[in-house]
Point group: C2
């Protein structure tokens, strides 16, 4: 079965199972101690990079749908909190991708897509692309300008990144990507990866300590070339409070 | 024509004009120098309070739809920036409201609703409810617990308010509700209305000045019982920069 036949077959099932006009696109950011990546797939059909999106079941809550879509398309079953960050509803945003097909194809109708994002540690799982896809990969955000993305998926990723940047100034997010005990330098690298810029070390250390969510431990990270840096962990109670009330409460 | 007949007639048109399964609900907050209000309508049918929501045209961008919906339902034509803040996609969230009708009614299908919010000065326009509605009113947020809201509209309003509270800690929003020249006390009232709590005056003045977006004018507000307070305006360049980059940049 070639890639077009695969899609035609899926279209028949899809009309039974899914709501028309609604899709969900998960933007999964990965962080590997240095750089931010995004999880993309390439379909057998057309060979363009895409977010691992999908449709919403007729009897499925939207929140359930996005979790199930991630499982179906790339085999992610880990429990992950996906946060809605935007809705992409322009006319003709999705129809062109399937222009080789006639208009009865489920996939070719107008779709308004709900964007969700999450932060992940890429080393934690294997990608298992579905049979419609030839590959699933973590692409460095710094390389995104060099690849061809389908539909408005570049815009969706950019909006997700902007949201992540906004959120990190009000909530302690992404900290699940750090080991339980970490150095301030490791925490700074996480912020720099998300913000996409280098931060002044002195300013960062002062600001992050002022948030009052860190505990300095009586241990140091050993083994580096430099003086062994202090290790920190999160004060769980204050961390939870900051997640709830925000970091810069008035 | 009674209220049920009105809806039946609308259903026939709606199937022609609108996408199935998709709705938009605008949460319009008003501020009248003291308290936060929210714009609600009461339909002739069922007499419950509702957000002035509607459906998305088959040939309409989603952003256009929500602006048109506000115009159709309450006569708001002022140029207003509506920000998407959440998607409400639980099964059965909307079907029950129209339980008196049979399942062929357009309005009775499953709808996933996109929430948008905006901040408004209620005195700037008259509400003109559509013919399906017996009234449109600004309801004080403090009185919301006393009224009966349809579907999950209470949850939608609460999520909008949480978003507004988050946003005000990172962006200078809502300032369009102030006069061009304002006192720090007036600005504090805006923050207090949005945050739903009293703020310490000294702390607030210090923090708001530290943002660096205010210009102190060589004028005072006259006519009050107290010492004439200083007037301020926004430094437009710095204000625009803060809107773009956030207030608490790392």
């Amino acid at each position: 079965m070639n890639s077009k036949e695969q899609i035609l077959q899926r279209s028949i099932e899809a009309k039974e199972i899914f709501l028309p006009h609604l899709s969900a696109d998960p933007v999964i950011f990965g962080f590997d101690k240095k750089e931010l990546k995004v999880l993309l797939i390439k379909m057998n059909y057309r060979k363009l990079w895409l977010l691992p999106g999908g449709y919403v079941g007729k009897n499925e809550d939207l929140d359930e749908a996005v979790v199930r879509i991630l499982k179906d398309r790339v085999g992610i079953t880990t429990d992950v909190y996906l946060d809605e960050f935007g809705v992409f509803g322009k006319r003709n945003r999705s129809e062109l991708y399937f222009e080789d097909f006639d208009d009865t194809l489920f996939h070719k109708q107008r779709f308004i897509s709900i964007g969700y994002y999450a932060l992940y540690n890429p080393s934690r799982f294997n990608l298992v692309p579905d049979e419609l896809s030839e590959s699933g990969e973590w692409i460095y955000m710094s390389q995104l300008s060099e690849i061809e993305l389908a539909m408005d998926h570049r815009e969706i990723i950019e909006k997700a990144l902007l949201t992540l940047r906004e959120k990190i100034s009000i909530k302690p997010i992404g900290y699940n990507l750090l080991p339980e005990k970490f150095t301030l330098s490791e925490l700074q690298k996480l912020y720099e990866a998300i913000l996409g810029k280098e931060l002044n070390r002195g300013n960062f250390y002062r600001k992050i300590k002022n948030l009052g969510i860190l505990n300095k431990l009586e241990e140091q990270r050993r083994g580096g070339a430099h003086k062994s840096p202090d290790l920190y962990s999160f004060d769980e109670e204050k961390y939870a409070q900051a997640l709830k009330n925000g970091l810069n409460a008035w």
